[in-house]
Amino acid sequence: MTSAVASSTAHSIVEASPRSKAFASALVILYAVITILPLLWIVATAFKSQSDAIAYPPKVLFEPTLEGYVNLFTVRTRQTPDFIAKLPPPETWYDKLVRERDMVIAGPSKVVPRFVNSLIIGFGSTFLAVFLGTLAAYAFSRFRIPLADDLLFFILSTRMMPPVAVAIPIYLMYRQLNLTDTRLGMILLYTAVNVSLAVWLLKGFIDEIPREYEEAALVDGYTRLQALRKVVLPQAVTGIAATAIFCLIFSWNEYAFAVLLTSGEAQTMPPFIPFIIGEGGQDWPAVAAATTLFVVPIVLFTVLLRKHLLRGITFGAVRK
């Protein structure tokens, strides 16, 4: 799997005829529209009222409201209209919105702490994985390490385990070490998973930087570490950024470990979102609002990563 099918030269195919291009473009656009519809439906659901969201038949046109977002961020209690009438006038627009539904806000929901957990665990594990990965990738790229291929394969093979299988002994180990449901525990675990991706991707990126640059620096009296810091790292900055985004996306999206190893303190968004409940089951506008907020960064990253996507998803096996 190491140096698989790599191609450095991008070729355009023999030019297609205008008619075949029109045909291709029609089909691809049709597919793209079908593929994006579920996402648009979720974004729209976030702006529906509770009753519009579960209307039968489903509503395409509706009066938009921010109820879903308000519900996502608050905990509310139902009150009698008499009680609400006696309250002082609402201070904010969201107080007002909630009271129109015969409810009052009782406090903030847990979504913000969960979001913060996702951020801390995501950035923490990404930083560690990229840091360790850069060092290891540089060593694998530039020095002759005994059994390098075996080590690299070992690093990759740790990713072949089903996450549920890995979670069993991790659960036991973390119980002993008091790391269950802690951010530190999750950061370490995600770092271990991400570091294999980081090493493989970064080795590819560093391999592409000509050795001559460093050699010149070494001749000029730089030490290895200086050459790494002042010559190699600046050259590898795009690769490092792309790798970091891939690691971040993994940690951000991860569910299996999160649901099995956290329950509150360190819970991230993915296991939290399905359990946003209102009166009588899932509060769909709030779930949709959470999903939208959760997915927006990913969409931005996808656009940013467009050029490196192929590398990232194949562990650097395919380069464009």
Binding site: A32, P58, F154, T302
Partner: protein, 321 residues
């Protein structure tokens, strides 16, 4: 052990080897060999601590009857009992069968759609780059979140999916349930998985198509090979290594599949979509049969690892052709 010879080594080449090493160290700081090990060691140490140590522990536990809901019982070694239990259990084989069916049908569908899309996009019509990015979005999302929001889309009454189907076929929308019916649920997980991952196969195939140099097609044109012939003798064979890579990655990922299906159907109805990862989760984290589930985890790992190894060998053979 450095692989690089510095030109200025010539200046000190007159000295003895030991003296030279000493000078080099003084001049250059740490030796390359030390740096190499310092750089690799933390990663290896982390993986040993978080992956290998637990794995070894799990292997030990797989020979015990440990049940965490009764962890006051002394640890009892039962030899290979867990393994014989699992391999003799008809239910486990059924779950493996369900998993195999899911892996084969989803990967097959993704290959067909992904390769088809790649062929179309490769014609480089105007705006193909924008539409490609749109198509790629689903695979970047969290599978758990995807599984969760598809339950809304697939609700027989309030979901839009059944309505769209009824619009085209006339079947009443509340007469079928994609996630609730034994006949449909296995296809539902294939459908959602394909929605997510067909773009993955597409992206890899696209790289394959772009790696084919123009001159081969030009030569085929000169020889008056038909478009059909060009596809079978140039396009397909030259894309096969890429396709195989995509199949490898997808098959491994789907064999491990847990998150999306757990939220979409949680294995139901009955156990029609209970993939082996879900069985494992239930044994380990609901019934707390740690010994038994450790053994099952090891069997799964060996299966993935073995299958992947065989596949990689085949892949390399194709590449060398």
């Amino acid at each position: 052990m450095t692989t690089i010879t510095q030109p200025d080594d010539a200046a000190i080449s007159g000295m003895g080897a030991a003296a030279r090493a000493r000078t080099t160290r003084r001049v250059r700081g740490l030796s390359d060999r030390t740096i190499a090990w310092l750089f690799v060691a933390p990663t290896i140490a982390l993986l040993l601590a978080i992956n290998i140590f637990p794995l070894v522990w799990m292997i030990r536990l797989s020979f015990t009857s440990l049940n965490l809901s009764m962890s006051y019982l002394p640890l009892r070694f039962v030899g290979l009992d867990n393994f014989t239990d699992i391999l003799g259990d008809e239910d486990v084989w059924l779950r493996l069968q369900t998993t195999a069916q899911f892996v084969i049908s989803s990967v097959a569908l993704q290959v067909i759609i992904g390769f088809g899309l790649a062929l179309l996009i490769n014609r480089q019509f105007r705006g193909h780059s924008f539409w490609t990015t749109i198509i790629l979005l689903p695979m970047m999302l969290s599978p758990a979140v995807v599984g969760n929001f598809w339950t809304l889309l697939l609700q027989p009454q309030i979901g839009p999916f059944n309505y769209l189907i009824s619009l085209f076929t006339g079947v009443p929308p509340s007469s079928f349930s994609m996630t609730g019916q034994v006949a449909l649920a296995p296809w539902t997980i294939v459908l959602v998985d394909t929605w997510m991952w067909a773009p993955y196969v597409m992206l890899i195939c696209l790289a394959g198509l772009r790696s084919i140099p123009d001159y081969i097609y030009e030569a085929a044109e000169v020889d008056r090979a038909s478009a059909w012939r060009q596809f079978w003798s140039i396009t397909l064979p030259m894309t096969v290594p890429f396709l195989m890579l995509a199949v490898l990655f997808r098959a491994i990922e789907n064999f491990k599949m847990f998150d999306m299906v757990n939220l979409l159907t949680s294995g139901g109805p009955g156990s029609t979509t209970e993939l082996v990862s879900i069985t494992l989760k239930r044994a380990a984290f609901e019934k707390w049969r740690t010994g038994y589930s450790s053994a099952l985890a090891i069997i799964l790992f060996v299966t993935v690892f073995g299958a992947a190894n065989i596949y990689v060998k085949a892949l390399n053979k194709v590449k060398q052709r």
